[in-house]
Structures are given as structure tokens and as C-alpha cells.
Amino acid sequence: MSTTRRYDLVIVGAGLVGGLLAAAATRRGRTVALVEAGQKFQFENRARQLKHFQVFGGALWPYENKERDRYTDSSVNSIGVPYTLETHRMKGVGGSTLHWGGRINRLMPADFSSASLYGTGMNWPISYADLEPYYGNAEWELGVSGTPHPSHPARSRDFPNPGFPMSIDDTFWVPIAERLGATVYSTSWAINSRPYGGRSECVALGACKVCPSGARYSADTHVAEAERSGNCDLFTNTVARRIELNGDRSVKSIQVTSLQGEDREIKGTHYVIAAHAVESARLLLLSNCGNESDQVGRNLMEHVYVDAGGYLPNKRFYPRRGGFEGLESLSYYDGNDRRERGGIKLEFTFERDPLEDMEGRRIWGKAMAEHDRENFGHWVGLGSETEHQPNPDSRVSLNPEERDLFGDPVPHIHLAFNDVDRRTQRRAREVMHEFLSAAGVKSVSQDPLSPHSFASHHMGTCRMADDPDQGVVDRNCRVHGISNLYVAGGSVFPTAGAVQPSLTIAALALRLADHLLA
């Protein structure tokens, strides 16, 4: 079955990129087809998601359709711990912004030229200066609450919302950081510090995994805006399965199938694949598109989150009253040893729950109650977002043995780290140990690499490069060799940096919108 309508823009994926692109296009009077594998969740559904999280410890969203989402990974073999993809992403209108943290940062200017500066990673074909205006626009689209700080890269536009100040707990770290020659700053959040964009200010539900108030940005708001224009057709529960090409190497259509089994062909002028770094690569591989140089799926990057902490018996903190913690440091992002390791961003936390020590310390009953009384509110900890270097062996490929609901090969995830990654993680542990020792922690505990050590940031599988032999898309996100096919999202990042990728994803989406819709 073919839709009779021909769209200006066909977008695969109704997440952050899809939402921003669809809204930008419809604001300019263009027509959009938005294809989403997952469903559209009503806002009221969030209360149920919250309850599910509180009972089971994970959002329900990613598990709505197990038949559709069976995936394998080989990371146990490559890095020693399993990597369960479904806990790290989200299919549905809004994508992973439905259950993200909302912590938001710009990449550092050096991240765009790490090969030239440090001999690691690779250079982006665009610079920070090229992207800077779009970073500002993205902050206004998402409603970022932030406070400018000298640690941040240069900006040409103010934050739309005032930043959340340091909590009383956060202030503990300020003098310690000063003693160590580091600076800390209040985190920027895509969470409203005041009503903005038709959404309320944060009401401190302390339930940030779900955000039932809507104060935290989620991309379904932009999808809804596009739909309201009357120029956007949203196809939910519809999986893009193939990209069909014409003889002249332009895209003819996207072949999709609904979960009910209805096939459809969607046609447009431009096509944007924004289905998350794993699925975007998978769709290109399934369609044999853009892979002439065997780059599709390679260089899969994820931020490894290394953490450490300990108890301070004589100091009392008051965790989990705002729902989110708000202190970071970029002092160890660069440095004299940056040629030897990747970027590191520090985050500070007070949230370790002594009740979680039950299994590790083998205490229960009255002893557990006493342990909680003695230790609750005395934990100080740090986490480090660490850079993962582009690595051709770290990749998404098609699994020849497992098929999805429609009979297509599922993606096979293979994460790989190199020596630079290991040195980055080691350096992060050293830095955190210095902080904790300076804070007076006598016994520092450092969590080993585990299935919980990942930040759910997937990047790099369709990376951007001017040279078609080095990447999948050009500087405008157009797939090399195909005139009207684009890829957008974290998948086009040549390097990962060590900050949350969402703002860069959003900025690249807005830049692509200007390119396509000018």
C-alpha cells in the first residue's frame, strides 16, 4: 500500500531529532511524515510509569513490545559485562527524552578537533563556532535552565530560564574543589526552573526518571506542535524496514510495516533517518545504503560512568529533596595528559542509600535499621562521565541468527574499549579518589565496571566526515553518495566528548532543519 500524499520531509524516528525537525518544518509550512516504531503515550500514562518505576526499579516504557525488541550483544565477551540495550533507550513518541535525566551540556570546542589537538579520536568537519548559534537555539527550544559559568564554552545567547542554584549539600564541595584547584558549577537542566513552553516549573516530585509534571522537556511536545499544524502525519507503531533507492542514487521511498502487519510506502522530497544510533545504522545496513566504505555501524560510542564514594560520619546531607543533583566540574576535561586519555566530566552526588548495602554487607533486620540510622545522609560520592574513543571494532551489525517480528535481522551490539578508554577511566577514578580523600572520606569505595556503568548515550554509528571513506554522512548530515537521504542524531558524532549528547543532537537537528528548509 502506498500513501498518496508526497511529503516535503519524511522522518524516521519521533524522538528529539524527529520532534524538532517536524516542528521546524511545519512552522515553515512544509509537510512531514513522521514514522515511529513505538507508540504515542498519553501524558496521563506517566503516573503509571512512575508507579512501575517505584515498584520495579525501571521504566515500563522500553518494554511495551518484547516481540518487536529482541536484541543481543556480545559485550560480555568484549568488555566483561553485559549490555542490555532495552534499558538504555526508548521507543515511542518522544524517544529517549521520555526517560532521560535532563542534564544538558554543550560539547567543548576541543571535542571538535581532538585529532589535531591531542592525536586521539577524529576531527569533526564542523567546528564549535559552526554549531554555536544552534546550541543557543536548542536551549530555547528545550527550555534549558542554566547559569553561565567560565568553565562553559563561549555562548552568544543567554539561557532561556535561570539556573537552579546549588543545593545546601552541593555547597559542601565548593571549598574542596578550590583546594584541589578545580572549579564546580551548577548543572544546566532541560527542566523548567520557571513555567516555560507551556510546561510548569519543576514541582520537585523527585521522580525524574518519569517526570509526571512535565517540567522536564520531552520531545513529544514538539511532535504535538507539528501535529497541531495539520501538516504532519504521525505513523506510530510503524517500523521503517527498508530505504528504497532510485537508479540515480536518490531515495524513492521508505518501506514501513505497522505492528498489525500493514505494509506501506512513504514518499517525500527529503528523508531523514533519526531512529537512534543503533536503529539508524541497522536501517542503513538492512537497506544496503551508504555503506560503500564499510563505515555504517562502526565506531559505536557510549559514555562509561565511573563512580566512587564513601561515608562521612560527621557531616549530614539531605539527599533526594529536589529530585536531582546539580553540581559538575569540567576541570579534568582537558589537561596536560589529554594526549593519553579522553575527556572527563565530574558529577557530584549524595544519594547513595544505605539500605542498598543489604546484599553487599550482608546485613538485615535490626542491624539494617541501625546501619541506615548511622549512615543515611552521610554519603558523598562522585560520578565521572568518561569519553569513549571512536573504535571501528565497537559496532552495530546485523545478527545473522536472530530475527525481529517482521523477519529482519536484529542488531548485534559489540562494544569495545581501547587503551585510551581504559586510561580515561583510570584517571577518573584517581581524580574522584583525590576529591573524596580531600573531603575526609576514610574508606573510598569504587564500583567496578558493571551493567549499570553506562550512560545510555549511543553515538557514532553513522559518523560525519568530509571524506566518504572515513564516515557515512557529510558535514550537512547527508549520506555520502545519496542525494536526498540524511541521518541525524548521536549517530553522526565523530567523537563523543564526555558530556551528555542531547543538546548537541538538538543543535545538529536545528542546523539540519536550516539546511533542508532554507
Binding site: F53, D169, C202, V203, A204, R321, E359, A367, M368
Partner: protein, 196 residues
């Protein structure tokens, strides 16, 4: 010949393994629970399971639960038991086993046990070693052992999570607000409550 040797080792290995498995099974069969299926009204059974699990949660964390705590936890238990079939099965097996152990302490059910007896039973449950070789073997050999060990590594951690994220855990710490209850984010600018 290498081939001969490897076949010999293999045979001995199999015999040894079978003997070990049989011995472990014999030991395990003595210690395994024999879950009893309730034959009464399903709704009253569900209520019984919930009250047993509530008492277990209280004993696990060394707490006497207030009626408010019990109501909050009970609501979450209903969701847990209704939503996830396999996990609900593990929780029911745990409840049945707790009541069986309570009977050995002369009590009709776990939630009617003396506090000291509850503590002993919790200790017994928590000391089940799910990582031992015996546990791994027996889990593969019999469904009842599988249920026995799942009760420890599946149901207990899940109930612990449920408690940690419930109002009951935070009330005990002097908090008057917890995840899911709206407030003002500016609270974080000031000290909070002391541990009662």
C-alpha cells in the same frame, strides 16, 4: 594416546559429576521447601500473601510498620503481584515458605510470629546461598529447587527495592515528602529533617 586419555578423563569426569550431583540433590532435597498451594478463596489468599510479605519487609528492615506504612506498601504489593507473573510466583513461594517456617516456630503464619522468631526466619532466608555450586546444580535439576533459590535471588531483592522506594522508608528517616509527592524545589536550599 592423547585421545585415550581424554576419553578416560571425560568418563571419570562424568561419573564424578553425576555422583556429586546426586549427593547435592540428596542434601538439597532434604533442605528444599515444599511449597503448599492454598486451596481457598483466591482473594483471601492474595490478602494472606500480602500480609505475610508486609511482615517480611518489616522484619527484613528491622522496622515495625505503621498502619500508614503498611497501606502504602500494600498498594505497591498489589501492583507487583498483579503485573509480573513470574515475579509474583516467586513472591507467593516466598510467602508460603515463610508461613511454613512460622509453623515450625509454633505460629499459624509469619505475620503472627513473635518478633524474635521473625528475625530468625529472616536470617534463615537471607543466608540461602544462591551462588554456591550446589545451588547452581540443584537449580538445573529440579523445579522446586529452582523455585527455592529464585525466592531468594528474585523475590527478596525486589521486595527490598519496593521498600526502599516507598514512603515507608522515607518516613522512617523523618522525611515528610518523597518521590511522587509534589513540593517546591527550593527546599533543597535548606537543611532537612533529622533522623528521628
Amino acid at each position: 594416546m592423547n585421545d585415550e586419555r581424554s576419553r578416560g578423563w571425560s568418563r571419570r569426569h562424568i561419573i564424578g559429576f553425576a555422583s556429586l550431583a546426586a549427593a547435592l540433590a540428596a542434601v538439597g532435597l532434604q533442605s528444599r521447601p515444599s511449597p503448599v498451594r492454598g486451596a481457598g478463596n483466591p482473594e483471601s489468599d492474595a490478602a494472606t500473601v500480602r500480609s505475610t510479605l508486609l511482615a517480611f519487609i518489616g522484619a527484613l528492615f528491622g522496622r515495625v510498620l505503621s498502619p500508614l506504612d503498611a497501606a502504602d506498601l500494600s498498594e505497591r504489593l498489589v501492583y507487583l503481584l498483579d503485573f509480573n507473573g513470574p515475579l509474583a510466583g516467586d513472591c507467593r513461594a516466598l510467602a508460603q515458605y515463610l508461613d511454613q517456617l512460622a509453623a515450625e516456630h509454633g505460629s499459624p503464619s509469619f505475620n503472627q510470629c513473635e518478633t524474635a522468631s521473625q528475625a530468625l526466619i529472616v536470617d534463615q532466608i537471607m543466608r540461602i546461598d544462591v551462588h554456591s555450586i550446589a545451588a547452581r546444580l540443584l537449580t538445573r535439576l529440579s523445579a522446586s529447587h529452582r523455585a527455592y533459590y529464585r525466592m531468594r535471588w528474585s523475590a527478596v531483592p525486589q521486595l527490598a527495592w519496593l521498600y526502599r522506594h516507598s514512603p515507608a522508608a522515607w518516613r522512617a528517616r523523618g522525611y515528610t515528602r518523597w518521590a511522587g509527592v509534589a513540593g517546591d524545589w527550593r527546599e533543597m536550599l535548606h537543611p532537612g529533617a533529622s533522623y528521628p
